[in-house]
């Protein structure tokens, strides 16, 4: 008996974008036939290779994470492995019963009760009637909906709905489980429970293929990870290493170029000139930032004449444009300093274990106190913070609603 549970060999998938198959209506087909017209397909433009020569193997009992940017082909790969769509080339060998979880609550019908939907969804996901009956109580307990199990699902809150849907899926016992990003449902406790359940599934010798953007979940659940980019596997290895390299590579160079261009196009100011803004971690420029390391914000500027009260500052905002904090480079002293002419690099350090794993915006500006601003508008940089720090590390995959996540010292005494 081979040790390989899933072998993917040179799998490719081609999509023709635009009109999927010409023609799409009977009317068009008939008129084409009558008018002896042949539809000519513009092949090169319309072809999209969602997967290109993808090859890898997954051992029995291995949990493998599949990561990559949006559009890299992860979902397409899962669809091919789940037999939802056929590969254009290559082949896959699967040894064992497969269950795919590409969506939570597939087939749920709002008019049916929780009980009925469990049966339906279970059957759709591949459970036999006997299995559903056996696991019914566990499923209901996991979802925490005992009281409402006989109410139509249309009356459930979205949280309850999701929990029920996930609970059914979580109790599949296939040999091979394929999961597409379905862990982000429910509150913190439920998410933790879900992740634990997935780990149990993986620990019982089952093979798991897990697609996710949630890096801490990938690292905690999977021993190995592969990175997909543009439909190809570009890396495979132990998940922790692969994930950190992936995060570091995710520096969106386009974003940096935008900022540099913006700085160059700023109107000249008699006193102040902004040269560059950099965000660094471990001495490296990056816009994908982790909260486990301090973040250096370096502002390079030039002052042409000695000015009292000249300052640069930045604000940290969340996506809803709420200013979380701001810091002025020379503001935390007793009196306004005099800034002499010259070139400067002012660097602020945002400590590790302060930022939450969420997207932020940095707004940099400069001004002369009580006189005027030096830039017509703040320069904006996006910061996507990833979780590698110690805060909430007991709950990997937990998505905090908080704007910042400082590490506080807790002192626990038993009484």
């Amino acid at each position: 008996m081979s040790d390989i549970a899933v072998r993917v060999e040179n799998v490719s998938k081609l999509y023709r974008i635009g009109a999927r198959i010409d023609p799409r209506t009977l009317r068009e087909t008939l008129t084409d036939v009558l008018m002896l017209r042949r539809r000519v397909r513009d092949d090169a433009e319309r072809d999209l290779w969602a997967l290109r020569d993808v090859s890898f193997e997954v051992n029995r009992g291995e949990a493998i994470g599949i990561i990559g940017q949006n559009g890299a082909g992860k979902s397409t790969l899962l669809k091919v492995l789940s037999r939802i769509t056929e590969p254009t080339g290559g082949r896959v060998e699967v040894r064992g019963r497969v269950s795919s979880l590409l969506e939570v609550g597939t087939g749920f019908h709002p008019e049916l009760t929780g009980r009925e939907n469990i049966q339906l969804n279970g059957a759709i996901l591949g459970m036999t009637r006997a299995e559903i009956r056996q696991r019914f109580d566990e499923i209901v307990a996991f979802a925490e909906v005992e009281r409402f199990i006989d109410t139509p699902v249309k009356y459930y809150s979205s949280g309850m709905y999701m929990r029920l849907a996930f609970a059914v899926a979580a109790h599949l016992e296939p040999e091979i489980l394929i999961v597409d990003e379905v862990l982000a449902v429910g509150d913190a406790a439920f998410q933790a429970k879900s992740l634990r359940k997935m780990s149990d599934v993986a620990a019982h010798g089952r093979t798991v293929l897990f697609v996710s953007h949630n890096m801490p979940a990938v690292k905690s659940l999977c021993q190995t990870a592969i990175v997909l980019n543009g439909g190809q596997v570009i890396e495979r290895g132990p998940s922790a290493a692969v994930v950190s390299r992936y995060l570091q590579r995710s520096t969106s160079r386009a974003g940096r170029e935008d900022v540099a261009r913006l700085i160059e196009s700023l109107p000249p100011d008699p006193v102040f000139k902004l040269h560059a803004i950099r965000t660094l971690q471990n001495g490296q420029d990056t816009t994908t930032v982790v909260n486990g390391e301090p973040l250096h914000v370096a502002i390079e500027f030039e002052v042409f004449t000695t000015t009292l009260g000249l300052h640069v500052y930045f604000q940290l905002l969340d996506l809803e444009e709420v200013i979380i904090f701001e810091s002025i480079h020379n503001g935390d002293v007793a009196s306004q300093p005099l800034v002499e002419a010259g070139r400067y690099v002012a660097t602020a350090v945002i400590p590790a274990d302060l930022l939450a794993p969420r997207p932020y915006q940095l707004r940099v500006n400069a001004g002369i106190a009580n006189v005027r601003a030096c830039l017509p508008d703040a320069v904006r940089l996006s910061l996507d913070v990833q979780q590698t720090g110690v805060v909430n590390s007991a709950y990997p995959g937990y998505e905090t609603p908080a704007r910042i996540a400082p590490h506080l010292q807790w002192i626990v005494n038993r009484t």
Binding site: T25, V92, R95, R97, E103, E111
Partner: protein
């Protein structure tokens, strides 16, 4: 999908004519049960009328036909009271027309399932037609009270005639649904044509009028319609007329051909479904 650890499942681009995959269908039989069960439960819950619609549809049509065609137009009815004549004809017809109309839409209506879960897609039109069977069974019950009201004694032929006619209707509708459900995915505008064609088909079938009313030299044309022998058998066996095996054989043949060719076409198109839907 059930498989022992040693059995290897190969996923690769399919070439040429796909097999019908009957073994797989059997493995997924429970899903067929659930899909049918779901459609029936949902209908039952949605309105009080829900499940009784199965009876109301043919009953109401019968009332209208009896008034206009039976009373006003005074169409002959082959020795049966017109009410029974019409209802007995409408029973298999309603099964057929609902099965074809719903079945043809079934694939595009299940887009959310087809793009997220694997199962043999042919279960979708099969489940759709099977729900029609349940409705048929309910409407059939109404035949009892109707016969009582008309003080009509059914002949024993009906014990054979009705099940056979029902089975043939089911098989013909199944074959058509399999074809149409796939065709509708490929040609969306077909969906609008189907109800219209079904309507016309009803007039081409001797439901409102008896076959005996059709002039002899045109009767063969009407007999080509696979639903004609079915309806005539259904009704005729109630009245005690002998069952014409030859005529039914034609329907049976057509049904088998439709199912087999439909199955092949469906399987060929199946590989594209998730991409097309």
């Amino acid at each position: 999908m059930p498989a022992t650890p040693e059995a290897i499942l190969r996923i690769q681009p399919s070439r040429g004519w796909a097999s019908l995959g009957l073994g797989e269908l059997w493995a997924y039989r429970e899903l067929l049960y659930f899909l049918t069960w779901r459609d029936i439960k949902v209908r039952y819950k949605q309105t009080v009328l829900g499940i009784s619609w199965a009876v109301i549809q043919p009953l109401f049509a019968m009332v209208i036909f009896t008034f206009f065609f039976g009373r006003v137009a005074k169409l002959p009815s082959d020795g049966l009271p017109y009410q029974l004549f019409a209802y007995a004809g409408l029973l298999p017809w309603t099964l057929f027309s609902n099965a074809v109309t719903n079945g043809s839409q079934s694939m595009i209506g299940s887009a959310n399932l087809v793009t997220k879960v694997y199962f043999p897609r042919i279960l979708v039109p099969i489940a759709s037609v099977t729900t029609g069977l349940v409705d048929f069974a309910l409407a059939l019950l109404m035949l009892g009270p109707l016969m009582l009201v008309n003080r009509f004694h059914p002949s024993a032929n009906a014990l054979i005639g009705i099940p056979v006619a029902a089975a043939l209707t089911f098989l013909t509708a199944l074959g058509l649904s399999i074809w149409l459900s796939a065709l509708v995915v490929r040609f969306r505008d077909l969906r609008h044509v189907i109800p219209f064609v079904v309507q016309l088909w009803m007039f081409a079938t001797p439901i409102i009028y008896p076959l005996s009313m059709v002039p002899a030299r045109w009767r063969w044309l009407v007999a080509l319609n696979p639903m004609a022998p079915v309806v005539e058998t259904f009704r005729g066996s109630l009245a005690g007329r002998p069952i014409s095996v030859a005529a039914l054989a034609w329907t049976a043949l057509l049904a088998v051909v439709l199912i087999l060719t439909g199955g092949v076409y469906f399987r060929r198109l199946e590989r594209l479904f998730a991409d097309l839907i």
